[in-house]
């Protein structure tokens, strides 16, 4: 595995882009070859770090507005949109000046809100999940028994996180850890479904109940909801369908539980 072509194959294998026969060949060799296994694991880890830690630059509002205005100006976007966009382009110096004036006027209040709190929270959840799965410290307490996991966490957190089965065949509770998200210590329950790890973050909230919002972020599935004074956020790299099923199951479990 020391040549460029092997490295190329490995990289394509990890991307799921290698042709079937070759991919099968690697998959077979992996079983006996622990070195190869390590290499694949390292490649995946690098890929996960890139997904989770690189900056994704979202289009600034001024740019979005410009494109939207160009479209809104014209009932028939194909012809008139062109001139509208071009017009905007020509007026850009003034638009920029106005934008800058606006930004200056509101800079005090805006500095804190350029990244929405939800985005910030999701970024933290993704980072925490990736960090934990990459390191050896996935759990502080390793047990599939909730009677062991819950007391451990509640003694350190000052609240008792609800722990439930995922309700999916082949899933198991791996344990729990104390993590730090959104400026507070939270409980992270770690489950395993096949090769995939699922982190379930739980912390007390004073806000009311909120339904499930599921999003995809950097290749991970995320879902958040609040119920009975507890905020939940689930993250994993399982496929979206399976993830939705797990979320439904968990959310309904918590709904049936009398609030303690």
């Amino acid at each position: 595995m020391n040549t460029a072509s092997d490295w190329n194959e490995l990289s394509a294998f990890v991307d799921g882009e290698l042709e079937v026969a070759r991919a099968r060949n690697i998959a077979e060799r992996v079983l006996q070859d622990s070195v190869l296994r390590r290499q694949i694991e390292d490649m995946r880890r690098l890929s996960a770090s890139l997904k989770a830690l690189t900056y994704y630059y979202h289009a600034p509002e001024t740019l979005r507005l410009a494109i939207r205005m160009a479209g809104a100006d014209c009932p028939r976007p194909r012809r008139h949109g062109f001139s509208a966009l071009r017009q905007w382009f020509e007026w850009r110096p003034m638009a920029s000046a106005l934008a800058i004036a606006g930004v200056l006027a509101f800079s005090v209040s805006l500095t804190q809100t350029t990244v929405s709190p939800i985005d910030q929270l999701q970024e933290e959840i993704v980072a925490s999940h990736v960090r934990a799965t990459m390191s050896r410290r996935m759990v502080d307490v390793a047990s599939s028994d909730r009677q062991t996991v819950v007391p451990f966490l509640s003694s350190r957190l000052g609240f008792s996180p609800p722990v439930d089965d995922l309700g999916v065949v082949g899933s198991s509770l791996v344990g729990g850890r104390v993590d730090y998200v959104d400026g507070r210590a939270v409980a992270a329950l770690v489950y395993r479904v096949g090769d995939h790890v699922i982190d379930s973050f739980v912390w007390p909230t004073s806000k009311g109940d909120r339904g499930v919002i599921q999003t995809g972020k950097r290749g991970f599935q995320l879902a958040r909801w609040s119920r009975g004074g507890m905020a939940h956020c689930l993250i994993s790299d399982v496929n979206p369908e399976q993830f939705s099923a797990i979320v439904r199951q968990l959310e309904s479990d918590f709904a049936e539980r009398p609030s303690s």
């Binding site: 460029a4 190329n8 882009e17 390292d42 690098l46 890139l50 979202h58 600034p60 194909r78």
Partner: protein, 196 residues
């Protein structure tokens, strides 16, 4: 939003398609130009161009189509403003094959684990643009090799070897990062150093 596929519907006009892929367009332009304002200019110019050809666009996947135009505009910008960044990549270069491959004796897993957000972003920003763009399209946009090939205007085989090489460079950068060494310094904006 992220799963919405414009190809499944007839495009409802340029605005809808354009807005849907605006983040992807801006992110790519931003990583190529290294600058907010320049990235905005590049995207606007690209969208202007895209609008011109929009009549000829019929329901294929809009994302690679748009990103191809954005990349082209970004490269035009590079050629004009940062010609030094336009290094041509020798995709047949075999020299790096002689470098020992991933060996298990190296504590690379440790190194990668330690690498934080700043060093990963620095390392990515320091990659030659040809490697940087394929990595961005693959890891951030999660595009298949076929789409990356189309956007970057290279054969699929070259996408494969460039991605592999890019990952190798990233890994090496992150490994050396953990040893005390000189850090790479990002290229200075030539405009900044000029006197008025």
């Amino acid at each position: 939003m992220e799963h919405a596929r414009p190809s499944e519907h007839r495009p409802r006009g340029f605005e809808a398609v354009a807005l849907l892929h605006l983040d992807a367009a801006y992110n790519l332009a931003r990583w190529i130009t290294h600058n907010d304002q320049d990235a905005q200019d590049v995207v606007q110019e690209a969208y202007l161009r895209a609008l011109r050809y929009f009549d000829g666009f019929h329901g294929e996947d809009a994302r690679p189509w748009l990103l191809q135009i954005v990349r082209h505009a970004a490269y035009s910008w590079l050629a004009k403003n940062r010609p030094k960044d336009m290094v041509s990549l020798d995709d047949c270069d075999d020299a790096w094959r002689e470098v020992p491959g991933p060996s298990t004796s190296e504590p690379q897993a440790m190194a990668l684990r330690k690498s934080d957000r700043a060093s990963i972003n620095d390392a990515l920003a320091a990659l030659p643009v040809g490697y940087r763009e394929v990595l961005i399209l693959r890891e951030m946009e999660e595009l298949p090799y076929r789409d990356i090939a189309r956007i970057a205007g290279i054969p699929i085989g070259t996408v494969m070897s460039r991605l592999a090489r890019a990952r190798r460079l990233m890994r090496d950068a992150l490994l050396t990062e953990t040893k005390p060494r000189l850090r790479s310094v990002s290229l200075k904006n030539p405009h900044e150093s000029q006197l008025p």
